[in-house]
């Protein structure tokens, strides 16, 4: 677009322009906060990680227990993200497109993981599945291990990351209404076809965004996982837990090396997220518009 954006126009117009010092004060204030609290810690992670050289860095992340932690983290994400995808989409579909008793209650409950401290979440699972918990005796009898094992970590991770997909989709689906779905049904599409060909294409960017956030949280979750994992090295240690253990052992270089991997994951997530947002705001159709066709001329030749 060749026209000025709203903010630029606002600023160039002497009637609406603020004094120069206001702008610079705000800019300085926010930039220094930004550097102090966001950029500096991020840089320090990489700085500390590479402090003792490349070799130590590589050794720290290829060492047996580190690799096990990476593998476990990937496994947890691999299990919990798809499950959340399915739960999230069905919950959002239910809430946005249907009316039923208790809808408000369900909507509130979806936010529960956001409002409960992750440590409490972990304790909840210990209380239910732990050796002295409600199902503890029964599980022990049948030799099923949940707490201090991978299933417990998966459960805790799912709980913590549950709202991301649903929260992202509900407002989107509500805004889109039921018109297109109704049109599809009237045209003879069955439920699955309606979802696959009409609903899903309309929510795909929001869904991807929710999955990215959910994935980032699944890999980075500390509190809930730390309670249920038992922190057995090489077995139930995820990357964030591994970082903590290394740090507590004064093995700073290794701790920061593994932390740098998580930081890179965060940066990578941010890049994808920005790309998704960009794609979502510029729908595919706009790119397919031949340059010689001016939308205004289409309007004119309507009738």
């Amino acid at each position: 677009m060749s026209t000025l954006t709203g903010t630029t126009r606002f600023e160039r117009n002497p009637a609406t322009r603020e004094e120069k010092w206001v702008k610079w004060t705000l800019l300085t204030l926010s930039l220094s906060f930004f550097i102090l609290f966001l950029i500096l810690p991020l840089v320090s992670v990489f700085f500390e990680a590479l402090r003792r050289g490349w070799e130590v860095y590589l050794l720290s992340i290829t060492e047996e227990t580190a690799l096990a932690a990476i593998r476990l983290t990937l496994l947890i994400a691999f299990i919990s993200v798809p499950l959340n995808l399915v739960f999230g989409v069905s919950a959002a579909w239910l809430i946005a497109k249907h009316d039923f008793r208790g809808k408000q209650l369900l909507t509130t409950f979806i936010d529960l993981p956001f409002s409960i401290s992750p440590v409490i979440v972990g304790l909840m699972y210990v209380l239910i599945f732990g050796a002295n918990g409600w199902f503890g005796a029964w599980l022990l009898e049948h030799n099923i291990r949940i707490i201090f094992a991978v299933p417990g970590i998966v459960l805790a991770t799912i709980f913590v990351t549950f709202p991301f997909v649903a929260r992202e989709l509900i407002p989107l689906m509500q805004a889109q209404g039921r018109d297109e779905e109704e049109a599809a049904i009237v045209l003879g599409a069955n439920g699955w076809q309606t979802f696959w060909y009409v609903t899903l294409p309309n929510i795909k960017w929001g869904l991807l965004y929710g999955v990215i956030l959910s994935n980032a949280r699944a890999m980075g979750e500390f509190g809930a996982v730390s309670v249920v994992s038992g922190k057995i090295r090489g077995q139930t240690n995820t990357m964030p837990l591994h970082v903590e253990i290394l740090y507590n052992e004064y093995n700073f270089a290794a701790a920061f090396a593994v932390a740098s991997l998580l930081a890179m994951l965060a940066l990578f997530t941010l890049i994808i997220k920005t790309w998704v947002e960009h794609r979502a705001s510029h729908p595919a159709a706009a790119h397919l518009l031949p340059p010689e066709i001016n939308p205004l001329s289409i309007q004119k030749s309507t009738t």
């Binding site: 297109e180 109704e182 045209l187 003879g188 599409a189 729908p283 159709a285 518009l289 009738t303």
Partner: protein, 384 residues
């Protein structure tokens, strides 16, 4: 295909959307469901389509009870007010959608689908837009594509929910003429919902007037316009002047004024609504005239083929104690002959009056009267 609905009831919470609706739609006709917003017309249409479930009552399609049939089984074409085109699909894919969703055994071949889509796009005269996306089309184009998409599955009946409601006045007019032409070519049983009386009268074979979840009158456009059955229909179709009066020996008494009236099937002393169309009111400037309702000229609008004079009654409405507004339609010649000026006091004498019983002195709660208890100026202003 003929459609019959019988004793349909539908509530949304405390709100009665449809109250015992029974209607018969003959095969091949284009019928308009006409009424103010909230009268239940869209709900009725959606119940026929199967998108909404009636609380009780029957929907019969071609003599078969379809009340429990799913939307897919009913084979209806539905056109939505806001088009509901699939945003992420091209025009071609939108129109092809219904055919592609068929079970494999019934699905036409790729080539057949392609031919059919182009045939339909030619029918709606938009074949050149096949590769565009809905966002690149104007409102009128989108609605025509929506219609082509609905026709692609060869529906037995076409249902249109305020199809031109979101379009501007000029496009509306063109599209409804076009819809009529299309219907004359295809002869598919069609029902369309509208709140625009001009649209309904101009396009439909038959008009169903609805108000507050009830059917007020069913008939051809001529029947409902020339012989309104209820006060609601009279006031909804075209602009109208309303008097509250009492039938007396020498005519009708409106406030302290007497109005000549010949209709004699009302008992003396009964309270009535009296309706007069703007062109049925005469303006008398002669000060010696004793009959007719006294009114003050507020505005003279003398452009167009006929001129309109707006007036304000000298007395408040005897029934509602609101100001009374009147509208008179005259020829340009009459206006220049009368030489009316704003502020002039004149008398209004109706050449024709249509009376409806006003049950008792208390405002009745029957549905047909409800719309009229408000001030009379609400009635005026619907210009046909």
């Amino acid at each position: 295909m003929s459609i019959e609905v019988r004793n349909i009831h539908k509530r949304f919470g405390d709100f009665v959307a449809l109250n015992d609706i029974s209607l018969n739609f003959e095969a091949g006709q284009l019928v308009a469901l006409l009424g103010p917003s909230g009268c239940g017309k869209t709900t009725l249409l959606r119940i026929i389509a199967g998108l909404e479930q009636a609380d009780s009552g029957l929907v019969t399609l071609e003599g078969e009870d379809a009340s429990d049939a799913s939307v897919r089984e009913r084979q209806v074409g539905f056109v939505f007010q806001h088009y509901a085109l699939f945003k992420h699909m091209t025009v071609f894919d939108n129109v092809a959608f219904g055919m592609r969703m068929k079970p494999r055994a019934q699905r036409p071949s790729k080539q057949q689908i392609k031919d059919k889509v182009h045939e339909l796009l030619n029918l709606v005269q938009l074949d050149w837009l096949a590769d565009r996306y809905p966002s690149q089309l104007s409102g009128g184009q989108r609605q025509r594509i929506a219609l082509a998409r609905a026709l692609a599955v060869e529906p037995r009946v076409l249902l249109l929910d305020e199809p031109f409601g979101a379009l501007d006045a000029k496009v509306r007019k063109e599209l409804r003429r076009w819809l009529r032409k299309l219907h004359d070519e295809l002869h598919i049983t069609s029902i369309f919902v509208t709140h625009d009386q001009e649209e309904a009268l101009e396009v439909a074979d038959k008009v169903v007037l609805m108000d507050h979840g009830r059917v007020e009158q069913v008939g051809t456009p001529e029947e409902v316009y020339n012989h309104p059955a209820t006060p609601f229909v009279y006031s909804f179709l075209g602009s109208v002047n309303l008097f509250h009066g009492r039938v007396e020996e020498d005519g009708l008494r409106v406030g302290s004024h007497a109005v000549p009236h010949a209709q004699d099937n009302f008992t003396q002393g009964s309270e009535v609504f009296a309706f007069v169309r703007p062109h049925e009111l005469q303006i008398i400037t002669d000060a010696g005239q004793s009959q007719g309702v006294a009114a003050k000229v507020t505005r003279v609008l003398s452009f167009g083929v006929s001129a309109r004079v707006e007036l304000e009654g000298l007395e408040k409405d005897s029934h509602t104690t609101n100001d009374q507004h009147f509208e008179v339609e005259l020829t340009q010649a009459q206006v220049s002959e009368l030489a009316l000026v704003a502020g002039q006091i004149v008398r209004l004498v109706p050449s024709k009056l249509k009376l409806f019983d006003r049950p008792g002195y208390v405002p009745a709660d029957s549905a047909s009267i409800r719309g009229l208890n408000a001030s009379s100026d609400k009635v005026i202003g619907k210009v046909l």
